[in-house]
Symmetry: C2
Subunit: 479 residues, 2 copies
């Protein structure tokens, strides 16, 4: 299905224009395409295949801890959405409204879900009766709409694809534990699947989710030293339960309100992967989410036996459970090398007459470009080891980037200079007042990313007001 | 998470009120719940788990023949939707319209997709250049909205979940072959996965999809002898390509229009499963889509060793790849039997002290209610054989129902009497004129289901007009 005539075009160098490099990668690797509907994007087969791998691994993790998938209606009556004031105030400016069904104007307009807390609460208010039904651990994979002004592939789009977990529990403690368990699940996913190191922590009052008592986040750093919020997990207390009249008969035989959480991650994770691992040759994919983990390329394929040898390699890789393909098209070796580099395929496996004589194949790594000759007899051990090493190398390089561009700062000026010259995560102390957070934003142009779980003692006072510090906090410029 | 106190309530007998029996099963088996939004339903965990199994099996089949998943925007600009007249005329009365984004009124209103031919064509018009890119074999799993007046769980709902395949090809022959290949894929899925026999065939001009040159269908018969359209596959020729200006440079170096297909199946398949296999004790699930294929129940579980023995059974079933669970709750044996019958779990595996002495377990089949004692040593061979036999038995019973209520009819009166007294599929000859089809509907209250691929010679003339017959056709009353 590839267009044989297509030339692999050059992409903008990331040092020259990072934003343009990013968009070039998204399009040249055929991940997304713009739609005719303004602000909407299309996930093309290669981009969607990455999302499918993300979904399948993450979904299995959710199920291990007892979560079940459901499907809620996509449209929410305005009156239902409005029952909890903070949530609707947070999302109202971004809601798309359905006003007509067929030729009739609706009596009440319906919101395309921007998030589904309200629908889950409404459902629970109908089905929950006793503590014996708790906890209810639900999740759904779907798309949501938020009417953003400016859009960028994966990072900000009017429609995006995500999972939203929604749970209710008998006690506050259980709900708080769930909130943190799911945040840890995301942190593990980022590190072990996406090869992206994260800074987990709590959002400030200013940055937390509309209506939540507490929001937790995993923050990552892109290659341009900007921050990207990877995924979030929220604890709601019983605020929504009370607003939506969700009750159950407790162990004491009295009516009680359950405690609630929600947690979400989106297709923006693909954007994080691009900007964490990509390079000037294109996409670099961590093996666990790569649609093709190894591409087999026959060298001098017209020579006798070469195609058979390549096919035998492909068969062995497939039998090992590696997602492998073969490209025996008539495109040049140079074209093929560029094409699969652009697509971020982790391993390129070449075999030609000389390799066959020596009983070997040549494996080229996408991350380092290094070529190793692997005896054919060792294929089953060498390939998984290479993939594992590639994952670890991607993670290590990202971790180096994160650490090299994280700096403890004692004054607002220091933060400002650091952000303007180098960019990255500025660690400072903080008194806990929103005013100081806002002042920091005004002076240094940064937003607070999180109050990390791993606290350090950088100083005794808030660099903004000079009052005693309560926490260490991370500031940065975010996507 | 089950409510231990819940009593398994009686459901309406299907002989008494089939429609009420159906709704009772949907709700008591906890498949769906009504939402606060009129005409919308919620897929609850158990219902959604069935859908996940359907998706996973069907998706793998699609991928075997080279289809790739994508995600298209959910909203379609009105002008784009209107480019192909027949399609928009077919769907306009059922479209939900988004008119506002945030606080702003949109310049052009946007349709919530009722189907996505238009979006795929628009995308292809942007990315297709040469015949070397063909065929493009796409599919997406998503929800669509059609603003129906009356709604029933799974069968007719304003929002429903489906897959929609969309493909373009270099030649008409290839597109026609794809249309039929996908119809066969559905027929196989119904028979081998859902255990539902089907009558595959072509829809008449009157019943075909808006804008299609030809629509093919798999028709099934429910236990009340009514027809249900299982899935459809459409051939469009180059009609949409021309309307949406989708072109490619052909082998002759000239601009050409590709030939197009689409094919879809929906959550209504779950409705078909309920009405094909269900009984007065509730749901009966074919093993391949059952979320739980075997439920292990310890008997006299307080006795020493019983729970361990039950756990060992569960572990062995799980190790075999069977989707198994254990219910060691304090509910009575009677309650558990009723509960898992209601949920349609194919096998109930019981083990108690006496079984342990004899080195056996007792397996009860959901379809026949038959109990067999299986030596523990034989578990790995007995369980898969029982599941296979259960599937085959469900299929055979459904096939008997289909054949027993299919009748060749020579006159309109005969059709009318058959439909009024017994109900089912009336096979008649047909001249091919829509007028005769309409007359049959008027007189006998039936719609044409399909012109089956397997034609029979019932007579020489159309029973309506008396002119020479061209085809055998099936009539029935449809969901």
């Amino acid at each position: 299905m590839a267009d044989n005539k297509k030339l692999v075009e050059q992409i903008t160098a990331m040092e020259e224009d990072f934003a343009k490099w990013y968009t070039d990668v998204c399009r040249k690797a055929e991940l997304v395409e713009y739609a005719s509907v303004k602000g909407f994007t299309i996930l093309r087969p290669y981009g969607y295949a990455i999302w499918e791998n993300i979904q399948s691994i993450m979904d299995a993790e959710f199920k291990k801890t007892g979560h079940e998938n459901v499907a809620m209606p996509v449209l929410i009556p305005e009156s239902l959405l409005k029952k909890e004031g903070e949530l609707v105030n947070g999302f109202a400016p971004e809601v798309a409204w359905v006003t007509h069904g067929g030729s009739e104007e609706l009596e009440e307009r319906l919101a395309f879900r921007p998030t589904s807390e309200t629908m889950f609460c409404d459902h629970w208010s109908n089905i929950l009766q006793t503590y014996r039904q708790l906890p209810m651990l639900y999740n759904q994979w779907c798309s949501v709409i938020r009417w953003e002004k400016t859009t960028r592939p994966f990072l900000r789009s009017r429609e995006f694809w995500w999972q939203e977990g929604h749970t209710i529990h008998e006690t506050a403690e259980e709900a708080q534990a769930e909130t943190l368990q799911q945040l840890n699940c995301y942190a593990d996913f980022f590190e072990k699947v996406l090869a992206i190191p994260v800074k987990p922590g709590r959002k400030t009052e200013k940055e937390k989710f509309a209506g939540a008592e507490a929001t937790y986040t995993v923050e990552c750093m892109m290659k341009d030293h900007k921050a990207l919020q990877g995924a979030t997990s929220h604890y709601f207390g019983d605020k929504f339960s009370r607003a939506y009249d969700v009750t159950f008969t407790g162990r004491d035989n009295k009516l009680q309100y359950p405690f609630q959480t929600s947690w979400g991650s989106t297709t923006r994770m693909i954007g994080a992967v691009i900007m964490t691992h990509g390079d000037n040759n294109g996409l670099v994919l961590p093996p666990k989410i790569a649609p093709t983990q190894a591409i087999v390329i026959p060298v001098a394929q017209h020579k006798p036996g070469v195609l058979d040898a390549a096919q035998a390699l492909l068969d062995r890789l497939t039998a090992m459970g590696i997602r492998a393909k073969m490209d025996a098209s008539d495109n040049s070796m140079g074209w093929k090398a560029s094409e699969y580099e652009m697509k971020g395929v982790p391993l390129r496996v070449e075999i030609g007459p000389r390799d066959m004589e020596k009983g070997q194949c040549c494996i080229c790594r996408r991350d380092t470009g290094a070529k190793v000759f692997v005896p054919l007899a060792d294929l089953e051990t060498a390939v998984p080891a290479l993939l594992e090493d590639l994952h670890q190398n991607l993670y290590n390089k990202a971790k180096e980037n994160l650490e090299a561009h994280t700096k403890p700062c004692l004054t607002m000026e220091e933060v400002k200079t650091f952000i303007e010259t180098e960019g990255g995560f500025a660690k400072t102390m903080w008194c806990g007042d929103t005013e100081c957070e806002l002042k920091m934003k005004e002076v240094a142009g940064v937003s607070s990313r999180c109050i990390p779980f791993e606290q350090e003692h950088i100083g005794d006072v808030c660099p903004v007001c000079g009052k005693p510090a309560k926490h260490m906090i991370i500031y940065g410029i975010a996507y």
